[in-house]
């Protein structure tokens, strides 16, 4: 086996881990970073996206439209949750943890009762390709590109659009923004919906590759929280580099000693980063800048 094969396989594994970390963490990072709300129902928004995607694909829609539907439905559910629950708890950040945790329990059990214990999968599209001795799934490359696309879109949204400017103003000094005529409540709603929609997008993108069960959100949660904790409050300066660092840790440890060590590596990385950089990577970068 030549070096090129090894290099490609290492890159593929890195990209695969990176995509999973970034896609599962983005929604959580937007809601936490922009609003300071720790959303423990994040996994259930992912599950919602996956279920809607699968259901619409079973109903005859092509997969990309199904994923779009999953994203939109999750965002809508996000709006409802924000209006009904989160809105009343902005002054009590610790209570949002309990409230969203309760929501996640209700969502998991409710799905089990209404939809049943499993849902039929939709199958992974695109097939495979061969490099050297190994064959790879093309869809995993699509996932990697999707992760890069999501990061680029978020960057554009928050830096180049009017909504982005208003959202950043609202997050920085809410009272001043309100005094200048910004509807801060609307901005909060939309930001929460954006986070929920990103979670739904992650669910939709991974729906073809996974078991569809009410508890599936839980398999994203550890990676999502680890990435957000390491990244800190800023989506671009935090989540993206954190995803990169953790993807290297995870893919190297997993290829060296197996999945168990991959998970141990992630958790050890969190402990080290939290000890050395209490505000995460983005906190470190921002402090250096000022």
């Amino acid at each position: 086996m030549d070096i090129a094969t090894h290099v490609f396989s290492a890159l593929y594994q890195f990209g695969d881990a990176f995509a999973f970390l970034v896609l599962s963490a983005c929604g959580l990072a937007v809601i936490f970073g922009m609003m300071g709300v720790i959303n423990l129902a994040h996994g259930e928004f992912i599950m919602c996206g996956a279920y809607v995607t699968a259901a619409t694909v079973h109903a005859g829609l092509p997969l990309p439209l199904g994923i779009l539907a999953g994203t939109l439905v999750s965002a809508l559910v996000g709006v409802v949750v924000e209006l009904a629950v989160i809105r009343h708890l902005y002054d009590r950040p610790l209570d949002t943890i309990v409230a969203t945790w309760g929501l996640s329990l209700i969502a998991t059990q409710g799905t089990l009762i209404m939809v049943g214990s499993t849902m039929a999968g939709v199958g992974t599209p695109f097939g495979s390709f061969q490099v050297g001795d190994y064959s790879y799934s093309i869809y995993r490359i699509v996932l990697f590109c999707a992760a890069l696309g999501v990061l680029a879109a978020l960057y554009a949204l928050f830096n180049w659009t009017r909504f982005g400017v208003l959202a950043r103003a609202t997050i920085q000094v809410p009272h001043m923004a309100a005094a200048l005529g910004v509807d801060t409540r609307l901005i909060y709603s939309l930001t929460f919906a954006c986070g929920a929609g990103l979670a739904g997008l992650a669910g939709g993108l991974y729906a073809p590759t996974m078991t569809l069960v009410p508890t599936m959100g839980a398999t994203f949660i550890m990676e999502a929280f680890v990435t957000v904790v390491i990244g800190g409050a800023d989506v671009f300066l935090g989540t993206a580099p954190a995803g990169g660092v953790l993807a290297v840790v995870k893919s190297v440890m997993t290829s060296w000693q197996g999945q168990l060590f991959g998970q141990i590596g992630l958790l050890v990385a969190v402990i080290i980063v939290v000890r050395v950089l209490p505000k995460g990577i983005s906190g470190f970068v921002l402090r250096e800048r000022t």
Binding site: S9, Y12, Q13, D16, A17, F20, T108, Q109, L112, I113, G116, S117, T118, M119, A120, G121, V122, G123, T124, F126, G127, S128, Q130, D133, Y134, S135, Y136, S137, I138, Y139, R140, P208, T209, M210, T211, L212, V213, P214, T215, M216, A218, T219, S251, T254, S255, G258, Q259, L260, G262, Q263
Partner: protein, 417 residues
């Protein structure tokens, strides 16, 4: 299921508990008082629920049939069911509750081996009597337990030599990383070696992991002739879809897939192509008795996604219990064990004839080799009849003489007398 029972189930599922009283098909001639109480601790929610809700339903069907036909010795059978939520600590909590507060005569409990080992010391401590109606890694030598599921000498001694003969001698094991996966992998290693093969590799996956790109590459690197998949829980089942999309294209062998989690129904073909499973019952088995059981199940629970081997194990366990109580004329465990010691506790189950082995209190089984085709249809290339759970007895476990209340493995056999 009647509307009211269904509503009750939903409400119960929401509160996390479920107590089904005697109204389940109660017979007018039966005295409502003095029922025989059967505790049911199974996962009705959580990661294992897909494989285990059918067990509860099977027990309900059997209890209803028995109550319609006059109960056990004229006493109705009352189910006391709790949802253990795929959580080991819930098993311990509810096991104490059914034994101490509800004072049940017998408990049917457990899916994962971790939960069985979590509750077994409590059964021993409070001198209870439990049935474990699940296939597992074998080796439990405990007089308080009866195991109706299949064990490695029944599932692997048949499956692995068949696979090695058909596909080759290089074997790769991908197993869940807890006692079931570790001990089952030890059995695979042992049987592969005995048959002159070699392990191309092994990897243990923590429960709840759902991303397998690196494991898939490790398998391709090791170039095995087939992969033994001992993956447990719905998260780990994502492996099949991901391996298929990466075009791994290796035959697979398993003691748990299809027969428990009906992966061939849940995933889109052909991701489980060339999966071989040894099981003592699945709904595709085309025997008159098997079809009759399936029809009965579907009549009662039309929306049941699949009738798996653990549902059949649970169903026949209720009838075995009835037979033993009636022959012992008592629900006391020691009296029942005297009946087991006679060595002729057998019944005609949906899978075929089964008998309890007095030495280990495990059960003989008809083992079906199920093969998943490219379109996910099931065929049965081979059937082994009356395979006995011989290992514990041969290794030195004899519950008719001594009760060590322990679990043994090939590398940790019972002490020689």
């Amino acid at each position: 299921m009647s509307k009211s029972v269904l509503r009750g189930l939903r409400a119960a599922a929401l509160t996390g508990t479920l107590v089904l009283g005697s109204p389940l098909g109660s017979h007018p001639a039966l005295a409502a008082e003095n029922p025989i109480k059967l505790g049911v601790l199974e996962d009705q929610s959580g990661d294992f629920a897909a494989a285990t809700i059918g067990k509860v339903h099977a027990i309900q069907i059997a209890a209803e049939e028995i109550n319609k036909a006059g109960g056990i010795m004229g006493r109705p059978l009352e189910l006391v069911a709790y949802d253990t939520q795929s959580d080991n600590t819930r098993y311990q909590e509810f096991m104490r509750r059914v034994l101490q507060r509800d004072k049940v005569d017998v408990v049917f409990a457990g899916f994962s081996s971790a939960s069985r080992e979590a509750y077994r010391p409590i059964v021993d401590q409070f001198n209870g009597f439990a049935f474990y109606n699940n296939q597992y890694e074998g080796g439990v030598c405990d007089g308080h337990m009866i195991v109706t599921g299949a064990v490695p000498e029944q599932q692997f001694s048949t499956l692995i030599p068949y696979m090695m003969e058909k596909y080759g001698k290089n074997v790769y094991t991908l197993a869940a990383d807890y006692n079931f996966g570790q001990i089952s992998a030890e059995w695979v290693r042992k049987i592969v070696k005995e048959n002159g093969g070699k392990m191309a590799g092994e990897e243990f996956i923590p429960l709840g992991v759902s991303q397998f790109s690196q494991s898939i590459q490790n398998i391709q690197k090791a170039k095995p002739d087939f992969v033994v998949t001992l993956l447990v829980g719905t998260a780990q089942a994502s492996y099949y879809e991901q391996a298929a999309s990466a075009n791994v294209n290796l035959p697979m062998a398993s003691s748990v897939n299809v027969g428990q989690g009906y992966e061939h129904k849940r995933f889109k073909p052909p991701s489980l192509k060339d999966m071989f499973v040894t099981t003592n019952y699945i709904e595709e088995i085309d025997s008159p008795k098997g079809k009759k059981f399936y029809a009965k199940f579907k009549a009662k629970f039309p929306s049941e996604p699949y009738v798996n081997q653990e549902a059949e194990n649970s169903y026949l366990a209720v009838y075995l219990y009835k037979q033993m109580v009636e022959r012992a004329k008592s629900t006391k465990r020691e009296e029942i064990r005297k009946v087991i010691a006679l060595g002729d506790v057998c019944m005609d189950a949906p899978e075929g004839k089964v008998c309890i082995d007095p030495k280990s209190q495990h059960m003989s089984h008809t083992i079906y080799l199920a093969k998943v085709g490219a379109d996910h249809s099931i065929s049965f290339p081979k059937v082994w009849e009356d395979i006995k759970p011989y290992w514990l007895g041969e290794a030195g476990c004899d519950l008719t003489k001594k009760d060590p209340m322990a679990q043994y493995t090939p590398s940790n056999p019972p002490p020689k007398p």
